[in-house]
Symmetry: D2
Subunit: 413 residues, 4 copies
């Protein structure tokens, strides 16, 4: 059995858009001794986790926690509010929206995909993969559905494959304007904790998220934040389900427990992660990521490359997609960067394979982390023979320096 | 946000039958930095994990790993080999067998429960909860099913609620003797890694297990070990499924990846756990637990109390159920022990609530760990006013001393 | 290079009288990221450490912290208050008192040893190694020193080699009664944090301690708690010194720094250790160890063996020395116990080599930890062929059960 | 008691010239459970450490390990080979050389300082603080010492306060050329493990080092590598000593032990650190640091600032001293960088206070770590109003990209 206690010379720079680098404090929390999940200490832990995670979703309603990774929470959201064979309207913003619709089909639903038509003339990318959700397309489709066969509208808040963040409140308004009873299900797996997200204010019925992005944890725990309507709907749902079923979990949670063994050590780390976010202040966290994302785009522009997101109001604070020139294999660039500079970047997924790479600036990212990643990109692009129009790093430094301030330092109580 | 970095004075003794105490080495492995699950290091990790876990199941066939806790693997085993509405035959050995059949019903199957009839005259406990699987009852039922409506036979290898370990090979023989095509599904969640388990030799089609018992990890990762027949059956299964579906996972595993984000940090710890088991030697591990279990029963007998398992050939090497006298509230005893001696024991579950407690001696347990637990039990029983016929600790010491030997010490390579 | 990430099957039981088992929380604290020892975070840390450690010594005066193990603090105490060639009076309570006097000689002092004369008729051990400090012998010697050549009186508070705790206040009274200006230097390396110790109230001039005993840390940090007189004396001392010199340290400490690089990570763990002690309450900590020590002696008596300490008022709450019968090699017994039961005990040191072993019950020890150790001892003694008159474990359980209570549980703020 | 589990938002960048950032693997090693330092596991550990550290010093002779920080090893080297009042010749390369001579005086030696005369016309800095050891000055002085009163020649290999690395072999040649019996004592506290260092080949008698620089550990452990002559000399030394005395340590080491309690957990981490260095290959490690140092100087030059070291052949691979313009307070710049960018740099020490800052690129530093630090410096210098002649980051990127290669990745066995 090979020893995994590996350590290449020097620090690895993990800048994929998730899993994001796990802060030392959370790694330590993860290694607290496992305790009896039916004992009194555990109930204290459970209560902290449940109230804390609701703060992060900005909701007064229950949040269901699954000892499972994020894809499970996608399935969970659907099976609790649908009946077999139901139609669900899914807006295609990118690869993950597309995967979610495939999942819906596999569990016996009828997903209908809405998307902006056509391809980008320059890049050949689908137009819909370069812009946020177009709420008017959803509204139009819902108005056509006079029989209300569509059970739910599914959208991705922050599309991890492209770096596009959608206006969720506009989707809520579209559904309401259409007078349609469909629930609003939102995937904020990569958004939560780095991009502003307001479950209650935006009228979301089920918000889906995971641990390994803005929450800065390793993968392995995921969430469904609920609304009253979602809970009511779940009581009528005939979709067979057990592990994902909300009812038993909501009931057990009232006593600080779960109907089956929770993943205790991830909960330890989750409490610590929530504490980090709340103490920095959610608004400060969101502002930090907006600033880092702006700096990152300044770099891309200075290089003379194109940002994947074509709609400035939808730029993601979580990651930036960088389109490589037509004759450059983006994965070749990534490989050079990885092998020469110990930096991991995100690959182009699905229809974007080989045409772009993604720079994650989520989670605990700060000015120098981002700049380190940008230096690796700039050197790697040059090594790959990509002709750059200027120094992206210099542009990013100029922006960051001009917007920097004395950082509030946080100490745990 | 409350700080969870708590530490009551002195070491806590965790002797519930899972989660078992996580060895320091595994806690450290859990805290390795999270890496890119699509990068080259990860593929190395995946290959080690997949081949290593197969060794632990003693199988040449694929083992599916879920980034989810054990209950999910129960559901996974069923949804991959059944069609909606299928009948499944489930043998009731205790509370967990019972919960599994409830899960089966919730996901749209028709579970039929087989059990030994009647209650124990002394304790009032169901007879079926004090003995292992009676394969002849299964054979008889299968012979009656001439139309082969029963899709699967489900049994629990080591019943965590009672401390009874069943003879799985006898169930295989019963199915074969009946000439019935039902698959054999076995829950060895609490058995694997502490009790001998042979997926291939015993002819199991799907073995279900989890991380937090004999594998000594925190909860959060679970398994389906497969057979050829199970894989074939899964291709025909019409049960809607996505997260739990084997097909995509088996395919991705061939390239050292998973179709969705795996829980990387648990995989780090899993590699280390497998390494510990393989280096100690599975046979040595099983012998260690058999010896500890015998010592534990010697203690119970010396106290004048009854072991929950009434069938010596089915005594569990993983845990021992201790029946308290009729007038003694077992949970009251547990509370005293917990509060006075910092020792956590398992509660009586379901039909056994308040009538028994469970002593876990699984995972990294050794002579002094077990004896520490037994001293806590003995003192707590006395404090609770239970009249004991002798010192269980003395009996256990006598047995352990007489069977002890110089321990081989293991060092990682 | 061999991998040290070893883990023999099952938990190791470390019951030497130091290093004591390091609680998980302290191991985690030890692994916080190292920071700039001249930066603002560090100054916060320094201030907490300096005020916290004074609380543990029960002093209002400065405590000097050395990034060095305990032996260094012995040397430090001497070199700061003496001149070359000075006489120091050292009371021999055992091996460590003896080593300290050798150290004094090596650094150019003239140690004079005071001890009870004669040997124990039964064991042949020196009488002085079985009893606490006899303050009258010290007083008598000081009275004879009319020229006040004796610069300091050195005594060991808790003699780690024997399990004898001396009455320090009586030594102070003796010095005062003799009207002698000698300083009182006390080694409480193994006492501090487990046995009651009052630097100010007892009138100690220099208290010496280390990290790896009652403070529950690994070895590597040590202390000199000072008095006003000690500080005054140090200003006149002509002993050449630099690393151990108090002056620069005391001055730098006022600004939250040290004159040379402190061992930052040990300071992290030290803050956490102090927090554990203060939150449990020093009185509760001392009472816990007294109770555990009593239980341990009950066990020794029940075995029919002799406790090394022959003076009940001097029984150590930290460790218990167990005298083996004349024909039994104590180290052979220890070896059996270590190899069969994964339990480390203290060896007989110096004049006691092979004649006794030592059971540590310091630091984070609690009822079940101690009982685990006692079961290992009892089984090992039997395996070694030692004839025991009864079960020590049973005796200890009887005592512990009868004196147990619901434990206050501590959570960090 | 305040909780130290602090974590400001985002990763801290520690680029002082020591303590250097402790790699995760070493932090984990530091948290292995403490064991009996007289038991068999410990002896294995000791042997590995002792042979491994000798490889790092490139010596066949013994290396004495102290459970104390580096300043202690300075004192140790002197007290083992001198008699009270001896003369020692100390070459002043900077602040640490100066501190060492103060230490020598405090312990009763007569240090004589040799240095290049005069100050730099531009910066006003002492010429001797901008250049390496001038061996001819040493040779001249030794030739004058016809009575051989000078007991030892003391030089600093890598002067941490300035970023100047001296040619140690030339000092050996100078001593030999003078036919002088003085021992050669070399401080390589900040050099070892990052800068090439050859104890045997260069004819050093005592090499002094510490843990928190190139060895990548926290502070708290230090070293004296010896020569035959040093050992012989120590047998004649009349300097009073105990804690620092080599004799007992060398003797105990032969049995894999120490005469007093070693700092076990630091030894765990030390084994892992040595393993990292040996597996990367010492030559590769040294080449990595030379390349990083060159990149750093390219940045300084591009900014139009001056490197503290004025002698190209003496440029340090460990750190780079950056001289700020006459009207710029270097500590003000450092403060801005620290508060805005979470980056710690070294302050100007002693005579250089406020006139320069130091960038550490020792230990586990790699391309992106260094570039992150340089971006912080460049932005901070601009924020401080320092006029820069160009982008140092761009210059460093150009150099690093042009000299980069696919990195060999290391996995522990």
């Amino acid at each position: 059995m090979k020893n995994l206690n590996f350590h290449p010379a020097g620090r690895h720079f993990l800048h994929i858009p998730g899993p994001s680098p796990v802060p030392d404090r959370l790694l330590r929390a993860l290694s607290y001794p496992t305790i009896d999940h039916r004992g009194p200490e555990f109930a204290l832990l459970a209560r902290q986790v449940l109230s804390g995670i609701a703060q992060v979703f900005q909701t007064q309603h229950p949040v269901v926690i699954y000892p499972a990774s994020g894809t499970g929470a996608w399935e969970a959201a659907l099976v609790n509010v649908t009946n077999p064979g139901d139609e669900v309207l899914m807006y295609e913003t990118g690869h993950f929206a597309s995967l979610w619709s495939q999942l819906a089909a596999r569990i016996g639903l009828k997903p209908e995909i809405v998307a902006l038509p056509g391809n980008c003339s320059q890049t050949g990318f689908p137009n819909s993969w370069r812009r946020g959700v177009q709420a008017d397309l959803i509204e139009r489709r819902l108005r056509e559905d006079s029989q209300h066969k569509i059970r739910a509208v599914c959208v991705v808040h922050n599309e991890t494959s492209t770096g596009v963040t959608s206006d969720i409140a506009s989707v809520r308004r579209a559904i309401d304007a259409a007078g349609h009873p469909a629930l609003l299900l939102v995937d904020t797996i990569s958004g939560l904790g780095s991009a502003d997200y307001r479950h209650d204010e935006w009228g979301v019925d089920v918000s889906i998220s995971g641990s390994q992005k803005g929450l800065m944890l390793p993968p392995g725990i995921s969430f469904n934040a609920l609304s009253e309507r979602a809970i009511e709907r779940s009581k009528l749902s005939t979709m067979p389900r057990s592990f994902w079923a909300w009812d038993e979990i909501l009931q057990a949670n009232q006593a600080g427990s779960w109907p089956y063994t929770p993943n205790t050590n991830m909960l330890y780390a989750l409490v610590a992660a929530i504490d980090m976010l709340i103490n920095e202040g959610l608004d400060s966290v969101f502002a930090r990521h907006q600033r880092l994302a702006t700096a990152c785009r300044q770099a891309v522009h200075a290089w003379g490359l194109e940002v994947q997101c074509a709609e400035p109001s939808a730029y993601s604070p979580v990651l930036t997609g960088v389109v490589t020139p037509p004759d450059v294999d983006a994965d070749g660039v990534r490989k050079i960067i990885y092998e020469h500079f110990n930096l991991s970047l995100g690959t182009g997924l699905g229809k974007l394979k080989g045409r772009m790479f993604r720079i994650g600036h989520l989670g605990e990212c700060n000015d120098l982390s981002l700049l380190a990643a940008l230096t690796g990109c700039e050197m790697g692009l040059r090594l790959a023979g990509v002709s750059l129009s200027g120094s992206g790093v210099s542009a990013a430094m100029t922006y960051l320096a001009s917007t920097s301030s004395v950082q509030a330092r946080y100490h745990a109580p």
